[in-house]
Every structure is written in structure tokens, then in C-alpha cells.
Amino acid sequence: MNTKDYDLGPIDIAWCPGCGNYSILNTLKQVLAELKISSQQLVVVSGIGQGAKIPQYFKTNYFNGLHGRALPPATGIKAANPNLTVIAESGDGDMYGEGGNHFIHATRRNPDITNIVHNNMVYGLTKGQASPTSEAGFKTPIQLNGVVSQPFNPISVAIALDASFVARAFAGDIEETKKIIKKAILHKGYALVDIFQPCVTFNKINTYDWFKEHTYYLDSKYDVTNRIDAFKISIEQNKLPLGIFYINKNKKTFEQTLKTYKQNKKPLYQRQAQMDKIIKLINSNK
């Protein structure tokens, strides 16, 4: 398969020139081509935001739902048909703010989906307000004196919840990001990939250069199975680590816990109501 298989041809893309979303889109197409995942077998579920528009810009099935609400339908879709590859993808405000409760509980529930978060530390679509991951002191049209709260740390929260797969990438590094997303999709269970990206229009602080200066990659000696160390590293303030922080291979996926699929592997749309069983059940109330 080829990245061209996912191309839609000439379309009106609503992203600013230089936006990190373009390289994430590019990276994603390459990953899908290399993993040979057909558009028909893929569902991208997104919320609302600039990043959440991504499924509309390449060939795929998609469920572009409500702001903050990508993870619940993604869970329902994967449970109804586990043969589909399901990616839940939106920005940091959508996933960690509006959708914060779903982020926590999807991590616990562990559906076999990949959660890609476009983390640019600002609200782009609504023109520049702070997001849950904005740094303290970040000035915006609403937070005139700078953000007061401490930023949300999705990596440490995910590790605290013993998430199945936790990683962070940087949109500017297509090769490294590709490796991480590939591993995330192949991983059986909930896989978080928080992708740093600049918002060239509304975030003049966390630029491409800023990210290059303030991040480093976890090296090959790093042990992804050590949860305590992963947590320690995730709360580092000086330079922000990139790469795979933590993998827990021992968790059952949500779909694996469902009795529905124990004997019968068919997706729900191939099943019918069993009328003779229903008659028996009704008559047991005599």
C-alpha cells in the first residue's frame, strides 16, 4: 500500500500554513500504508478542534463527533466490531479538558484503540485561549495576566492509571513519530500518543524551535516496563522526554473481557435476536 491510497485529491484544508497538523497527517498516512491498514477497515473518531478535522482530510471511515467526546464512541465502535482499527484523535483541549473524564476512564477500561492527541498547548479553533496543557504564565485574550493553574500532565496521569501504552512524540520529527504511532497501533490495548506540535498562529511561545530545545528522546537503555521510573521521568520539569514511557503488556483489553466474543467472534451486526431463547426467558416468569 501507498500513501497515495489515502489521498483525497484537491481539498480545502482549513489549517494555517506551517501548522503541525500537516506533518501529523503525512506521518499518519505513511504509518497506515506501512501497516497495510485499508481505509475500509479503519475508523478515525474525533471531537472538535483543528486537529480533530484530520479524518476529513484523507480516505477513511470517520465519526467526527462532539467536542471532548471522541473516546466514548471510539469505545462503542471497537466493542461493536473488534475487527476495525480504531483511532481516537483530537487536540489537547478536547481530550484533556472537555473530555477529561473520558480520558481517565478510557485508560481504565482499556479498549484496543489508539489515542492520538495533538498537543499544541492552546485552543486554535476558537482563536487563542489557554488549554489544559498551557504552561503557567502563558498570556492569552482571556488569561490576560497569564495562566494561573499548573498544566495538566497527561503522561503522568496515564502512568498513574497504569495505562497500557504511554508515549509522547513531536510533530516536527516525522521518522521518530512514525515509529511511535506504528507501535501504538500495533499495541493491544489503549495506547496514548501525545504529540507536541506548534500552533503557528496562536502560540508564539511553544514554537518548533522551543520544542527542539526543550525535549529529548528516551534512549534505548530506558526500561519501558518500569512504572515507577516512568512516573519519575514524566514529572521532569527541565527537559520534556519524548518516546515510549511505559508499556503494560499484561492488561486485558475491554473487548477481551466481553463474554460476547468468548465463543463467537462475529461482530454485532452479524448477529440476530434469538427468539426461541427469548420465549423461554419470558415463560420462566410463570
Binding site: 475500509q40 463527533g65 466514548p72 462503542g76 461482530p267 454485532l268 451486526y269
Partner: protein, 568 residues
């Protein structure tokens, strides 16, 4: 006497529900018709809860105020029941529970002393069952069989002691009958019944399974939780995915995702939980997703009375979900309605790609009675999703507004749905022209939906002068009240589909000289809806919003009062 009403009243945690379940089975097996309902507080221990059991050789399906026999299991019981206890009520209870009531017919029965002699105070319940069975002249063999059966399903070693408790109670009851203290003259049934006894909860849940439900995501909330619990208990046998979501927003969105991928999903909730789902309902309207919502009403606003009953979410259900899009709302009045309408809901949701509601309430879901049968040969399910081809467009502009619904992974097409306004492919659009066409398309479905709107049911003569109108769970109550009033020129029009309203509604209303609506809410919500759609203003309303259901006596009395006022 035609029917007896027995009330058990005590604290939460005393096992009243055990008595209710067991005695209902006994009574039904003996050939009686049985109706039971409960009113309870929002607590796990203490307080005052009561269960009403009505038995009769004729049909009994409604709540009454009258109490013929009262078994008190706590000090507050008699006070709690207030005016429902009369000089005719035979009251049985411990010394402590009947004290200071010398002007009433009280009989002391030391339930807990006898229960403790057998081994545990909880056996009071089975003793009570024994007393009632003897007083109602039920064959001891039938009672014994049922007690054995009931407790053997729980734990083996419970059977022996419960049989002892039963023996004790039955003996006490017999003595009371012999010495005339508790003589009940009720016509005896001639043969056993092969009926099924169901609760409203069971009817809804069974209807869902029969409708092909294979996914339910919900958050526990009284009085809707029973459906979630029931489906969870059946989930192994019936291939149903049951998930308790972290909140109601997650619940509705999971269900929409499930439908998108080809499942038949429902949610079960009450007013406050439904309030959280309303953005999701709007999403369903925009992406044209089927969804079935069981909304079991309770007194509002906000937390209200969590364990009581009301019919005040009609407008909430109807007008919620921002924007204009079609929906269907059913409001079952009978157990059969609960079953058939829920089964139907899944098929209509799939066919028209709209939200379909089953509006019940605490009184409906918590009431049990016997019905002859549920006929499965009357029903069938049809899947409306299609296999897509390469050029598939999810929102193809069609003449009747219904675009064939594809699902991902089934065919060569791509299925794209978007909460933004979208074009035929499902892609975001800001074109005012496409926007207008899409709104028109979604609303065009209303015409097709209208063709399948259910007629309201007319009970009584077609030549009525006075017409009583009701919807949902008040069906049997109003019906019995009219039987008591026994006037040929009063009929009853019951709506089990409240939206859309059938186009013949106005014909029924205009025919009457006087119209009276009975509803469990403060602002007469259904009469407002009727006025909006027919321009007809109902003459009188009988409203109740205390948290309790209407009783047959209250409806009878208030209808008579209104008719009397009219005769000058």
C-alpha cells in the same frame, strides 16, 4: 368482595420485597390475578417503605388508596400510611408496631419473637406470608411448594427454616380466620393460571432483547437502573454488551458509536441523567444515528424525589437536543406496551435513523401484574443498514429524507459522519445552500414517520359525551376509575405514543362535550402539546405531582366532582 388489597409497610432492609415477590407467586399460582406496586424512600436502611398487593379473580392492575389488610413491620408504618388506613383495615403487627391505635382493628402478632425462635429475625417475612396465605384461604400445598421453590433458588439451607416459618404463619392465620378476627370473603379462583407475572422493568428489558438490543451503556439512576441490571444478568445468554459508563455523556456517545458500527444500542436513564445526554441526542439528530432511550421519569427538577413517580419529563424529552430534527416518543401504559413498543423502538430507530424514546416512570417500572402471554409471532426485526459500494455517500439527498445507512467495514464504501453540518459525503460544509438542503432532508423524514404513528386507544363507547385523556402509566388507573363510575357516556382515550401525535386526535376531542386530562405533572404538559398540534384546549385537568401515583379512588372522585360542577 371482588378484590383484596394487602399492604406491607416497614423499614428499608427488612425484606418487604421478599414478601412481595414470594406472595405474588403464591397468589398467581393459586389462580388469582395479582397486582403489586411499591413506594419507597431514597435510602438503604430505615425510613418507611410500603408494598401494595391486590388479589382478585377479576383483573386488577392499578394502585388504590384502600387497605384491607395491613402488616406493619415498624413503628412508623401506620403513621406513614396516613388516611389510607381506615376503621375497616385489619392491622397485624408486633406490639410495638401497633401501639396507640386502639380505635383501629389491630391484631398483635409477635413476628420477631417467632422468627427468632426459628433462628433469625428475617424469617418474619415468611411468617407474614404464611399468615396472609391462610387469611386469603390459599391452598396450603400451593403455598408450601412456592416457598420451597423460591428459597431453593437462593441457598439450600434456607428452605428448611423458611418452611418452619411458613408453618407458623399459616397456623396463626388459620386461627385468626376461625375466631373471626380476620375473615376475608373473596371469591376463590377455580383453576390455576398459566399467566406470566412481569414488572414494568422486565417488560421493557425483554422488549429490548426481542428488538435485537446487543449493546447498552448507562449510568445507574433510579428508577431506570433495573433495566441495566436485568440486561446485565442476561448478557451471557443473549450476546449483549453491557457497560456501566463513567457518566451519562459517555453512555450516550458510546451507544451512538455502537450503532455507527452496526450494533443495536440503547441507554436507560432518568430525567437528570438524560439532561446530560442531550448534546448526544442533538448529535444523533445531526448524524442521523438511530438510538433508543429508556427514560424513566421521577419528580424533578434536579435531584427531586429520587424514588418517586411523576410524568414531568415529556417536554424535556421532546424539546431537548438543540436544533430541529425528528424523534419518536412512546409512553407505554400496559406491560404489553412496555414489551412491544420497546421491541418496535429498535426497528423504527433503525428505519428512520432517529432517536426513539420509551417514556416510563417509577410507578410503571416497579409495578408487577399477571398477563396471559407475550406473542413473539406478532413481531419481527429488520436490519436496515446496507453493504456499501465504492461511491457510497452516507447523506445522499433522497426523496423521503432517509439516506441508506452504511456501516464501516461492510462493503467497499467509506462511512463518514460529522457533527458539523455536512454534505452528502458527510464532509464538513459551510455552504448555506447545502445546509438548507440537509435540514430539509432531515425534517422530510417526519412525513414518513407520521405514516406509522399509533392511534390512541379508545376505551369505552364511541358515543361518549365526556372524554378522559391520559398517557403512559396512568392507563389502568383511569380505566378502573371509569369502571367504578360506571357511566356509559364517559370514555377514555389513552395515548401510548405521545410524539408525533396522531392526526386523528382532534376528531376524538371534538366529538366530546367535555374533555378531562389526567396527568402526573404540575403544568399539564400533554394538554399543552395537544393544544400546540390540534389547537384544541382540553376543558379540565386532573393533576398530581406529590411523588405518588394516582389512586383509582382519587381519579374517580375528581372526575365525579368535575362532572357535578358541570350540572347546574
Amino acid at each position: 368482595m371482588n378484590d383484596i388489597t394487602i399492604v406491607l409497610c416497614g423499614e428499608a432492609g427488612q425484606g418487604i420485597q421478599t414478601v412481595e415477590q414470594l406472595f405474588t407467586k403464591i397468589v398467581k399460582k393459586s389462580g388469582f390475578n395479582v397486582f403489586s406496586t411499591k413506594e419507597y424512600m431514597s435510602r438503604v436502611r430505615g425510613g418507611s417503605n410500603s408494598t401494595q398487593l391486590r388479589i382478585s379473580t377479576g383483573p386488577v392492575n392499578a394502585y388504590v388508596d384502600r387497605i384491607d389488610i395491613l402488616i406493619t413491620l415498624s413503628e412508623n408504618a401506620i403513621k406513614h400510611l396516613g388516611n389510607r388506613v381506615s376503621k375497616k383495615t385489619i392491622i397485624m403487627g408486633e406490639k410495638n408496631h401497633i401501639k396507640n391505635n386502639k380505635n383501629l382493628k389491630v391484631i398483635e402478632i409477635p413476628f420477631s419473637q417467632y422468627a427468632k425462635e426459628i433462628g433469625n429475625i428475617i424469617f418474619s417475612n415468611t411468617i407474614a406470608v404464611g399468615v396472609l396465605s391462610a387469611v386469603c384461604n390459599i391452598d396450603k400445598k400451593v403455598v408450601t411448594e412456592q416457598v420451597e421453590d423460591f428459597f431453593s433458588r437462593k441457598k439450600k439451607n434456607l428452605v428448611k427454616n423458611n418452611l418452619l416459618a411458613l408453618e407458623k404463619g399459616y397456623h396463626i392465620g388459620n386461627e385468626l380466620v376461625k375466631n373471626g378476627k380476620a375473615r376475608i370473603n373473596i371469591s376463590q379462583p377455580t383453576k390455576q393460571k398459566n399467566d406470566i407475572v412481569l414488572s414494568g422493568t422486565q417488560a421493557i428489558a425483554l422488549g429490548a432483547i426481542a428488538g435485537g438490543c446487543n449493546f447498552i451503556s448507562s449510568y445507574p439512576m433510579s428508577p431506570s437502573t433495573g433495566v441495566l441490571t436485568f440486561l446485565s444478568q442476561q448478557s451471557n445468554d443473549f450476546d449483549i454488551i453491557v457497560e456501566q459508563a463513567e457518566d451519562e455523556i459517555s453512555a450516550i456517545n458510546m451507544a451512538l458509536g455502537a450503532w455507527y458500527a452496526g450494533a443495536r444500542a440503547m441507554v436507560t436513564t432518568s430525567g437528570g441523567g438524560y439532561a446530560l445526554m442531550t448534546e448526544g441526542i442533538s448529535l444523533a439528530g445531526m448524524i442521523e444515528s438511530p438510538i433508543v432511550i429508556h427514560l424513566s421519569q421521577r419528580p424533578a427538577p434536579a435531584t427531586g424525589l429520587p424514588t418517586r413517580t411523576e410524568q414531568s419529563d415529556l417536554e424535556h424529552a421532546l424539546y431537548s437536543g438543540h436544533g430541529d430534527f425528528p424523534k419518536i416518543i412512546f409512553a407505554p401504559g400496559t406491560l404489553e406496551d412496555g414489551f412491544y413498543l420497546t421491541q418496535k423502538a429498535f426497528n423504527l430507530a433503525d428505519k428512520y435513523q432517529v432517536p426513539v424514546y420509551i417514556l416510563t416512570d417509577q410507578y410503571f417500572v416497579d409495578s408487577y401484574y399477571n398477563i396471559t402471554s407475550i406473542k413473539l409471532d406478532r413481531i419481527s426485526n429488520m436490519n436496515y443498514f446496507i453493504k456499501t459500494n465504492k461511491n457510497y455517500q452516507r447523506y445522499e439527498l433522497t426523496k423521503n429524507g432517509i439516506s441508506p445507512r452504511g456501516i464501516p467495514g461492510y462493503g467497499n464504501g467509506l462511512v463518514c459522519v460529522d457533527s458539523d453540518e455536512h454534505d452528502e459525503e458527510g464532509r464538513i460544509t459551510e455552504s448555506m445552500d447545502i445546509r438548507t438542503k440537509m435540514v430539509d432532508k432531515r425534517l422530510r423524514k417526519i412525513k414518513e414517520i407520521g405514516k406509522e404513528t399509533l392511534l390512541p386507544k379508545l376505551i369505552g363507547s364511541k358515543n361518549y359525551k365526556t372524554l378522559i385523556i391520559g398517557w403512559g402509566s396512568t392507563y389502568h388507573i383511569i380505566k378502573e376509575a371509569l369502571e367504578k363510575i360506571n357511566q356509559k357516556n364517559i370514555s377514555f382515550l389513552h395515548f401510548n405514543q405521545i410524539y408525533p401525535i396522531h392526526k386523528d386526535t382532534l376528531k376524538y376531542l371534538k366529538k366530546a362535550e367535555k374533555t378531562i386530562i389526567v396527568e402526573n405533572n404540575a403544568t399539564s404538559q400533554f394538554s399543552k402539546l395537544i393544544k400546540l398540534h390540534t389547537d384544541y384546549e382540553i376543558n379540565h385537568n386532573i393533576l398530581l405531582y406529590s411523588g405518588l401515583p394516582f389512586s383509582v379512588e382519587t381519579v374517580e372522585k375528581q372526575i365525579k366532582q368535575i362532572l357535578k360542577r358541570g350540572q347546574k
